[in-house]
Structures are given as C-alpha cells and as structure tokens.
Symmetry: C2
Subunit: 366 residues, 2 copies
C-alpha cells in the first residue's frame, strides 16, 4: 500500500531507547510544529491497555490507573529550538565514545524516548504513573503546553513526586534557580552633539550601573543541601538617536538568576537595592524551585539512581510542579551545555543509563 | 495666461530681504527636492548682465568678472531638513519681537535671501564676487552639492576669502570644530545566562569606557584668538543577543568634536590614548577649520560688521574652503539653536542687519 506524505510516522517502541531517540529526533518538531510528533506518540501508545491517553492540543498524557498508594508524574517537552543544519541525526564517535548527533538529541528527545519506551513497557509499576509530553517549551512561557494543560486539566496534576526529563547527564538535578529580567533606564536631555554641554547624556549615566554589574559578587547559596550559584548579567544595552545627538534615554537589560530560597519578590527587592536610584521595569519573572530532595519518594529515587544530586541552574518546568506543591527533579540524558548548540549530541551510554535507572526504581517493590 | 502646476515660481529680488526669505521658504526644498528652488533662482538672476550663471545639478553659481584685485566667495545651501508641519511660513510676535516662523527660516533661507538680493543689486562691488547656492547640505557628506561642485569645477573655487551664510545671529563665527565619530567595541564569550560564569560578558566590559566618557573634561582651546569648546560624547550604545544569553560583543558609538588646531589624525590619536585597549573603528571624520580671522579681508569684514567674532562649534562647509586654503567664516541671520527645531523662526531684524552689513562691506572703497 502506498503511504501518503501526510501519513503519521510510526514509532517503534520495541526498539532500543537509542534507536527510538533517533526516530523521534528525525521527526522535526521545532516549537509550533509538534503536531506530527504528537500524532505519532498517540498512535504508538494507543494499543497499550494499561494506559489512559489524554490529548490537549499537541500535549499528550498517558497514565496508569492501578490504585497504587503513590503517583509519580514524569514529563518531557517534545519541541526543539530551530534547526541549524543539524538534522537528520547521525551516529559519531568522539574520543572513542559513541554519540548521537543532531537537533533535539540533548534537549530533550533522548529523555522523551526513554519515557515513551518505559510508558509502553511498564504495565505493572510500583507506583501509578502519569506521563506527560508537551509542546512549546522552548518559546514564550505564555505558550508552554504544560502551563496550558495545568490550566485546562488541573485534575491531571496530582501526584507525590515529579521527574522532568531535561538533560542532566542522567544525574539528578534538584530544583532550579529563579529567573528575573529587568530593564534599567537612565534619562537625560537631547541636544546637538556640537554643543553637548547644552544636553545631558543618558548613556554616560549608565556607567555606575555597569560598574555595579562588573563588580558584582554572585552568591552561592545552599538550599536543602544543594549549592545554587546565582548570576547577575547585562544581557542587552541600548541607547542613541543619531550620530550627532546627545542621547536622552538609555537602557540596560539585566538578567538575575536567583537561588530558590529567594522569592521573586525578594529578587526584585534586591534589584532595587542595587539600582534603586534608576527607573526599573520588570519584564520577566519566574520563581525558582527548591530541590525537594527531602521528600520520601525523592530519597528513594536518589538511592536507586546513585551518585550525588546536583543543583539545576537553569529554569525548568520543575518550578511548575514545585509551585503546585509537588517535589520535582530534573533527570534526563544529555549534557545541558550541549543543549541548543549547533553540535548538539548525546552520549549513548547516558540514554541507556537513564532508562535503566528509571526502570529499576519504578519496578522495585517494598 | 493660465499657469501650469509645473511653472517655475517667480522670486521677486526687488522685494525686501524679509519678504524674499518668506518667498524662498514657501518653496519647499527638503534635501533631494531642490530643483524647483534652483530653477527659480536661475530664472530670477538671468536678467542681470553683471552676473555669469553656472549650474551644476541643483547648485547655482553666479559671479562677477570685473577684474577686481580680490575675489570673495559667498555661499549658502538651499535645502532644508524635513518638514514637521512647519510650512507655510507665517509672521509672529514673541515678547514684542517680530519673527518669521517656519522650516528653513533659520537654516538657512534667510541667509540665501540676503545673498540673492545682494547678488542682483551689487553690480559694482569693491571685490569680485562668486555666489554659490547649493543642494544636499543637510544629508550625507557624499551628496553635498558644494563638494560635488568642487570636484566638477575646481576653477570656481578661487578666491581670497569666503563667507558661508549659516545661521550665526548675524555675527561672525570663525572656523569650526572638527568632527570625529568612532565605534569602540568590547568582546567576550557567549554563554547561556543560567551559567553566566562559563561566558565572558562584553557589556560589562563597557564600564571603563563609560567611566572615561562620564569623567572626561573637555578642553577649551584658543585658536587664532577664538576659544573653541570641545566635546566627547557617547551618541549610541548597543549589545545583546537575547534575554538569556551573555553578550559576546558590545559597542559604544562616540562623537568627538575637536578644536581646529588639532588635525583629524591627532583627534584619532587622542581616541587611542583614551580607549587604546579596545577595538576602535573610525566611522566618520571631518577636519575642523581654523577661523582664519588674521586674513586681511577677514579683518576688514570684522571691522565692517562690528561686534566680536565667536567660534563656531558645529561643523559647517567653511571647512571645505579652509581646506582649499581660503579663509572662511560663517555669517548669517538666525539663532543656530533654532536650526532644525520644530519652532524654527528667525528674528526679522537679524535678516536686515545681515543684509546691511554685507552691503556696506562689499561696496566700500579704499
């Protein structure tokens, strides 16, 4: 039978998690273009009687309803940042180690592959499971599929522990830093630069702000046993009207990554301590998430995975679960430093390690 | 006879210089649209036997060939900056003083009106005269009509003294500051702002540059008896990739107005003294012009006009004459602080003062 161009690709959940990663990566799903992959996920899971499938836009939920005492949510996003000539995937060997190269291999289709494979396989896990694969993580928070699902179907966000498959070198990374962006503005008086003394240069007034940024000693803060490293950086600067005009306005765009023992309001207050004499506009704020590693299921999971939990510096959707009172950690294959990189690539052993650790923990009894 | 829309407007050179200013201003001639006004100027002068008329594009030259011992060049541009609902002109009284309001009244059609009236009237001046009215002064130097004429017809740029009718409150303003623009760049290493310490923030590295600018004490320099005030200003600043990226490049756009005893090369060298550790790109350089007030004709002109000569801060086309070895001053009606202003307006008494001073000087004998 001829297959049409619009046919849903078939995912083979019986293949190895490495092969499955490759299948999923080769279905391009840059944010906004997730429908084909979401269709493929639904099609691949429909035959499994132990799973209830729910779809919301291009977000797919599959859950067991086994009446277990505890429920674990395991989630991953299915979109990627835009391509840069890095699809289709290929295998490569670097310094004697095997990698899968290509967009999405790290962030985070290897994690999605492991989750899909285990969702199909684990018909009798020790806890009830809610698997979530969601769209639009790599773009504006307003579009985030997990956020939309939480608004549309809050009943699905019930659980005792959550695991987000974001790349963490298949080690547990707890919580995440908060993320604040502000614009700090200076004002002056416009004038012709031939008679600059008639005006008041707003760009020159940025000097103390840059001095503060350049000299800032970012904190390292222990929260629930993990040490979070903060960061305060200019991520943009602008000002100027024309080559012969004294600028009457200038702006520094500042990004503050703050440890999760500080609330968003406290982070804003800290910016006012530093830049209080200037005009400050908050343009983005995402609360951090405490690591939550003291939760019993988290402890059990830590033991099963082994190794030492680390802090997650970047903001991830674990903060959404944390805000709902559900302890949550990041756990997925791939080096986060390779996320979004043009040479994005995942170490194959991390994919199988992640798969095996989750399987052992989710199947163990007593 | 019916007049068509495309008929050349008629300038009445027998009218007062105030009325003539109004006639000329009401022929809109924003840079690039000078043809109608240039046509009108040629038409108005063609009947005068003492004038030889030369046209180059929308630049018009009219000169006497009387065999006088000395020749004076008197020039003015006929274009204006764009309108902002400030045409047609009207008369207005502010604080009991009479003004003509509207685009071009200051910069510099009142000066052009005085020149046109005297060009027609002075058939027997004490020196030979070369009048020049040129296009495209208010835009890129590459388009400047005076520059084009100097290239096409260098033979016309012969003279012992030059007067540019730029607004100077009908006082003599000598020479002009030089004008240098540079871009100073810093470089770093791009990184995700969640792990800013992996990168190197180029925007933070701008701090010492802004400190230098904010603390800079601009010189006041006496040149040929006039005190020039310099200026060093950021006229623009930029940097940044995205809200979550440590910027790897940033730039400050700097404008240095330097006294005319400093050459362009020396001005660039001074920038290297200040910012030598950074990447510097010269984006624009115009030499200054010494006031040239020690020239005999300049001294004579000073005496005739009376008052005290002042330095010109802004760059004007006097520098072109200066570069050709011809002493040149600015002398025209209008307050330069009102040039390009939305409420551009010229004091009527300045128009007649300018006219009378030029007439007296150009007609005196011995």
């Amino acid at each position: 039978m001829a297959q049409t161009d619009t046919a849903t690709p078939v995912l083979d959940l019986g293949a190895s998690s490495i092969d499955l990663t490759r299948q999923i990566c080769d279905i391009e799903s840059v944010s906004g273009n997730e429908t084909t992959l979401a269709d493929a996920i639904v099609a691949s899971l429909e035959g499994f009687a132990h799973l209830e499938i729910i779809r919301d836009g291009d977000t797919v939920v599959a859950r067991t309803n086994l009446g277990r005492a505890e429920r674990v949510v395991i989630a991953g996003h299915i979109d990627t940042v835009p391509l840069n000539n890095n699809l289709p995937t290929h295998f490569e060997i670097i310094d004697g180690r095997d990698y899968l190269w290509g967009r999405g291999t790290v962030d985070m289709k290897a994690g999605v592959a492991v989750q899909l494979k285990l969702a199909a396989e684990l018909a009798d896990p020790s806890v009830d499971l809610t698997w979530m694969w969601y769209d639009h993580e790599e773009v504006s928070a307003a579009l985030n599929g997990l956020g939309r699902l939480a608004a549309n179907r809050p009943d699905l966000f019930v659980g005792d522990f959550a695991i987000l498959g974001e790349p963490s070198n298949s080690q547990i990374e707890g919580g995440c830093n908060g993320n604040l962006r502000i614009e700090v503005r200076t004002f002056g008086l416009r004038a012709h630069s031939a008679r600059g003394w008639v005006g008041d240069n707003a760009v020159h007034k940025l000097a103390p702000i840059l001095n503060t940024l350049a000299g800032y000693q970012a904190r390292e803060v222990e929260v629930d046993g993990l040490v979070y490293r903060e960061g305060l950086n200019a991520v943009g600067i602008s000002g100027g009207v024309a080559g012969n005009i004294i600028p009457d306005e200038a702006m520094v765009h500042i990004n503050y990554r703050f440890a999760p023992n500080r609330s968003g309001d406290e982070a804003i207050a800290h910016m006012h301590e530093l830049f209080g004499e200037y005009d400050i506009t908050v343009v983005d704020l995402a609360e951090g998430a405490r690591p939550g590693l003291d939760a019993p299921l988290a402890q059990q999971f830590l033991e099963a995975v082994g190794g030492v939990a680390k802090p997650k510096y970047g903001w991830t959707d674990v903060a959404r679960f944390s805000a709902l009172g559900m302890p949550a950690v990041n756990f997925g294959p791939g080096d986060p430093l390779k996320a979004h990189a043009d040479d994005e690539r995942v170490l194959l052993t991390q994919i199988t390690e992640c798969e095996e650790a989750l399987r052992v923990w989710l199947m163990r009894r007593g």
